[in-house]
């Protein structure tokens, strides 16, 4: 049970990170991550299942496609709207539109049924401290630790992080200091797309892929982000664990039909209690 919780939390964490990267940089609740997530999963499926490219190659291809998807959404959807000073509501709706286009295109070309990235293959199971994990779940854990470490390093230590924080706290001042905020935003979109692709492939390997997988994964990731507080990596990590724990143990205590109810109820309670998230800053008064 604990192992299941950790794996679920790792999945949430990566989607949450993908969402936060874009949200923090642009202030837009962007559904593009969901599109990149599903696209990545399906590119991997096409490459591995139909074109018979070895799995590793397929994954690299899929990640490239996912981050390209993120970048393209930034370049041709976010920036043009930004230039016209569209409100964040418009931005959000536009991104939802883009997400639906991607989802329906996948459904049209690939069909609606669930597909497996590893059809018919039995995944090896490892026993670790009394818990049973598949090799894929171990991979998910390892990758999320990598993302957490990498995210911390980029955010706090590297120059990229400095630029990123400069832009998100004051775009005008950043521009004066010679930073191009558009390029930073595009970088964040590509990064968000990449992380979305990572989580899409992980879900695909562990479970199955469907055209609608993007939204469901994204919503839970967003819940974790909001509970943790936007922009706080540690907050996201803790919130992912809490959400995953609630989901898994909620099934034990109550019946499994209540799974999603518990999670979203928790979101509402936290938002009422601390609108900025548990670890986040208090909302600025402006």
């Amino acid at each position: 049970m604990l192992a299941n919780t950790l794996v679920a939390a790792a999945g949430l964490f990566i989607v949450g990170a993908a969402f936060s990267v874009i949200y923090a940089a642009t202030g837009v609740f962007h559904f593009g991550v969901g599109a990149a997530l599903a696209l990545g999963a399906y590119v991997a499926y096409l490459a591995a299942g139909i074109l018979h490219i070895p799995l590793m190659g397929a994954i690299v291809l899929a990640l490239a496609a996912a981050s390209a998807c993120g970048w393209a959404l930034g370049r041709w959807l976010f920036l043009p709207l930004q230039r016209r000073r569209a409100s964040s509501l418009i931005q959000m709706l536009a991104s939802l539109g883009a997400y639906i286009v991607v989802q329906e295109c996948i459904a049209l070309f690939m069909g609606d049924e669930a597909r497996s990235l590893l059809p018919g293959r039995q995944v090896s199971v490892v026993s670790l401290l009394g818990a049973r994990l598949t090799s894929i779940q171990l991979g998910i854990l390892a990758i999320s630790i990598l993302v957490a470490g990498g995210g911390w390093w980029i955010g706090r230590v590297s120059r990229v992080g400095l630029v990123f924080r400069a832009v998100s706290s004051d775009p005008t001042l950043a521009r004066i200091s010679g930073i191009n905020p558009d390029r930073v935003a595009l970088g964040c979109f590509a990064m968000g797309g990449l992380l979305g692709g990572v989580s899409g492939i992980m879900v695909g390997l562990d479970l199955v892929i469907t055209p609608t997988m993007g939204l469901h994964a994204l919503l839970l990731g967003v819940v974790a982000t909001l509970i943790g507080g936007v922009g706080s990596l540690a907050g996201l990590l803790v919130a992912s664990l809490v959400v995953a724990f609630l989901q898994q143990f909620g099934v034990l205590a109550l019946s499994s039909e209540w799974l999603d109810v518990i999670v979203f109820l928790m979101l509402i309670v936290i938002m009422l209690w601390r609108p900025g998230g548990v670890m986040g800053l208090r909302l600025r008064r402006s």
Binding site: E113, Q122, T210, V251, S256, L259
Partner: protein, 377 residues
């Protein structure tokens, strides 16, 4: 000027009316409400093919009373709301006397009251929810009710396999709940115990929490009510978490080609119940014709939909050629159907419009379905 504009409008309206009629005047029309997109499309496309095949054969043999038979299909997406729209679209455009559908029980139950009110005959090729028995006089089905299946499975598992304590894992929709209820009612009445009944959402992909919960309980086996997608998930994930309990599937989903392909070794040993395979000349001819038309063996519910169309066509044929077809005489004809040799087996409707058929217990062995035994009938 004014006149010519009026004429143009009238012409446009006339065109619309003709277009709205859907087909030439004088065709016999059968409607179909099936899920052609969405999660359940895999269960809607085969019956639409089966129905089309029947229509094609009837027309090639000269139609009905020298007139063509036409099938108009609308998509339900396996959602009650979309099912009702599909039904309305059909009844408002082509006015069919009879409709083949729905596939998902939730959709059939949503359409049934409307069909009953409008006097339109509904023949479901796939809905197995027990509630449909009481849905009305115009509602028929060529697939046995879950009640029949649930009762037979509970009796088989209790009496033949010797199970006393089981857990149930079911998809939480009309169909899943109906199956779960009829199984647990019979199993409990025989003296068995259902230690847990865990539901999951139709679109769920991670069932490990539910399976882990069942793993920690005192039971001998898990009875699963699932769709093809979740069947694969249950098979794989129960191995991943080391469930260590035999799985008994109260669904024909196990036989779906996608399940055998995607589950691979994890499907090995799975035991399941489904309506017994039909045999005889009609069955053989149907299989050959289907393979010729679509390049594969008939998939789930294709034979049932084929029979539904054939039965409705037979009802049309029994009426005087000139009479305008309405639902009522079709209903009366179907009520009298006894021992009809169909592609899906021998069909007799009981007083609720339910078909009575024998059940088969099968098992996956070396990646192939193998018949264990046949019960009831």
């Amino acid at each position: 000027m004014k006149n010519s504009r009026f004429l143009a409008l009238a012409a446009a309206a006339g065109l619309l009316l003709i277009g709205g009629c859907g087909g030439r005047q004088g065709d016999y029309v059968i409607g179909a409400t099936l899920p052609l997109t969405g999660d359940a499309a895999q269960w809607g496309i085969p019956p639409s093919r089966g129905a089309e095949l029947a229509v094609k054969q009837i027309n090639e043999a000269g139609g009905i009373h020298g007139r063509k038979l036409k099938l108009v299909t609308e998509d339900t997406r396996c959602h009650p709301k979309d099912g009702v729209s599909a039904y309305r679209k059909l009844t408002q455009s082509v006015h069919p006397a009879a409709i083949v559908g729905g596939v998902c029980s939730s959709v059939t139950l949503a359409i049934a009251p409307l069909a009953e009110r409008d006097g339109v005959v509904l023949v479901s090729p796939a809905s197995t929810n027990p509630k449909i028995s009481q849905a009305g006089r115009f509602i028929f089905r060529v697939i046995p009710s879950d009640d029949l299946r649930g009762k037979a499975f509970a009796r088989y598992l209790h009496d033949q396999v010797g199970l006393k304590k089981v857990a149930i894992l079911y998809v939480n929709n009309e169909g899943g709940v109906g199956n779960k209820e009829s199984f647990s009612r019979t199993f409990t009445s025989l003296g068995g115990k259902v230690v847990a009944a865990e539901g999951y959402a139709q679109e769920a992909t991670d069932l490990r929490a539910q399976l882990t919960k069942i793993k920690g309980m005192d039971c001998q086996a898990v009875v699963v009510v699932s769709y093809p997608k979740d069947t694969v998930l249950v098979m794989k994930q129960s191995r991943e978490i080391g469930l260590g309990l035999p799985l008994y599937f109260q669904t024909e989903a196990v036989e779906d080609p996608s399940v055998l392909r995607d589950a691979g070794k994890a499907a090995e040993g799975a035991l399941y119940i489904l309506p017994a395979q039909a045999s005889g000349d009609t069955v053989k001819r149907f299989k050959e014709a289907y393979k010729k038309a679509y390049g594969k063996d008939p998939e789930l519910f294709a034979a049932e939909a084929y029979d539904a169309v054939q039965l409705i066509a037979a009802a049309f044929r029994s009426l005087p050629a000139k009479e305008k077809v309405t639902g009522d005489p079709v209903r009366r004809y179907l009520e009298g159907v006894k021992k009809y040799q169909g592609a899906s087996g021998v069909i007799t409707f009981d007083k609720n419009g339910d078909v009575v058929k024998p059940m088969a217990i099968k098992k996956i062995q070396n990646g192939k379905p193998v018949l264990v035994t046949t019960i009831g009938g």
